[in-house]
Amino acid sequence: MAGSQTTTTDMIGGQAAATTGRLLDVEDLHVEFRIEGGVVNAVNGLSYSLDQGETVAILGESGSGKSVSAQAVMGIIDSPPGFITGGSVKFRGVELLDLPETERRKVRGDRIAMIFQDALTALNPVFPVGWQIGEMFRIHRGLSRRESRERAIELMERVKIPSARQRVNSYPHEFSGGMRQRVMIAMSLSLDPEILIADEPTTALDVTVQAQIMQLLADLQKDTGMGLILITHDLGVVAEVADNVVVMYAGREVEKGESLAVYHHPAHPYTVGLMDSLPRSDVHTARLNPIKGSPPDLMHIPSGCPFHPRCPYAQEKCTVEDPPLFEVGPGRVSACHFWEEVRRDRG
């Protein structure tokens, strides 16, 4: 039934859900898009897990597969052209990829919610925001219009939209970018999800507004204990909030581990390259040391290690042999044949 959390045993699609702190296990996920002219290999092997109250960041540049991997977890990839061709996504121990769409829909929004980069396109321009937030209660919980409106106001207050009661009937275009993102967050939190996936939630926002939104997400996470998956290209944002980070390149994970360890002792040349490309606002940066070239076309990913054409460590081996994930420390992996050299060079 609708309120699965109120039953004594938590059931997802007829299976008993695990009640431990582990929320999500993604393993060896593969996603491809079959389009005219070929196959776009968007995700080619991604594994991570998420615990209650934890924040995992998926860090990558455009075309790294970070957003697609999140859409696969959420179950919102259009098929065709998109196909999940391998791997597993387990929510509380239950394999989501095997669930029928009707069961999947009960998980979506209710247990796993998502917010997007562009709140203006994600919101419907012809309905008031309060109506759109209240829709969650009307559809998923069967509340009346009046009740759902009251709940919408409560949520708007919770995400600190000033004078919520007056603004509940305003339309998305009447809100600033930051306020719209708050509306999105209110909507995503309406059903008390256990996991929130935030896909570039602050990329379109000014830096002072970004700080407000990240603070809001942190406060809400503290209150609810939800797990947060943060999809971003911003190394600064990752450094500020993520417990663990997965660095993606050309659809696969290249490095993974606890944020502090990854930032201070990177073990993959791509991670090193990203850090050296970044100017800083807190200290003077001498000349930047960028990665040469540009990210590969996902229809023609280079042989062997996909990073080898841009890699200063690349050798013969890298062009033919796709590196496995090497265990480089406790809870840390790197997909580089020469991770030890990389580590040594970084001190």
Partner: protein, 341 residues
Amino acid sequence: MTAADVESEPGEVVLEVKHLVKYFPITRGIILRRHVGTVKAVDDVNFVLRRGETLGLVGESGCGKTTTARTILRLEKPTAGQAFYRGRDIFELSRSEMRELRRDIQVIFQDPYASLNPRMTVGDIIAEGWKVHKGVVPRNKQRSRVHELLEMVGLNPDHINRYPHQFSGGQRQRIGVARALALEPSIIVCDEPVSALDVSVQAQVVNLLEDIQDELGISYLFIAHDLSVVRHICDRIAVMYLGEIVETGNEYDVYDNTAHPYTEALLSAVPIPDPALRDQGHRILLEGDVPSPADPPSGCHFRTRCWKAQEVCATDPPELVERGQGHPVACHFPQVEFADR
């Protein structure tokens, strides 16, 4: 006192902007357009740009940084003020004089996808300016000059006949740089030139811009919202808020000896890419949004969000002057001690 009086760094002034004002009318109605208000996009902006230096205009969306640049390029008509290019007021020039001047002040735009004509080859895009500005490069030398320019910006000269869609975002931005350089300008206005690029590619373009400046002594007016990139590339920085410059100085003045509360809040909001520093900074979270430039607060525009605001801030607009900080700041109560940044 204008900004020019306060600055003391050497170097020939190539551009001096004095009391620049740009208001946009707000109108209602289609046939009878009634004037119902004014957006004060740029309100009394002063700065100088010297030969071979990079001046950063930084601020959040709607602060007027892009309008300032567009007005200097005469893509917008100024409401008031002057802009002197090597002593001549740009706003007083005739059409033909202005055409001459456009050669000297070139632009690089944010979106490398939208700013290149998809139907023209790279060679034609780069050479197009020479059709208007005859005599920059003689006809028979044009092709070899395009080759040189492509090489200079790090592109393969053999790709001269390719079209923009055959290049990546970073490469397209290089084409934009080559096009700007073709006319041998003395100033390039860079409007968010790296904002659309991925981190690894962004660094390549930043380095390219630096190399070109070192080689050719071009001045950049660098408009960006990314405070880290601005710190890296700019010699001097002007922070804008609601159409006004609130603080200006060199990298260390603005970033390490921050005096204006807005600059302080802005900088504190920038995430630092080091997890070890996570809880060490004191982040100042500003309340609410930037007020509408159609109805900015009286006195100091920032006072409605400022934790230092007092009565005087509502009545007297603070002037952008040196207040013992070593650099000009438009605040009645600027930070004076710099210990903790």
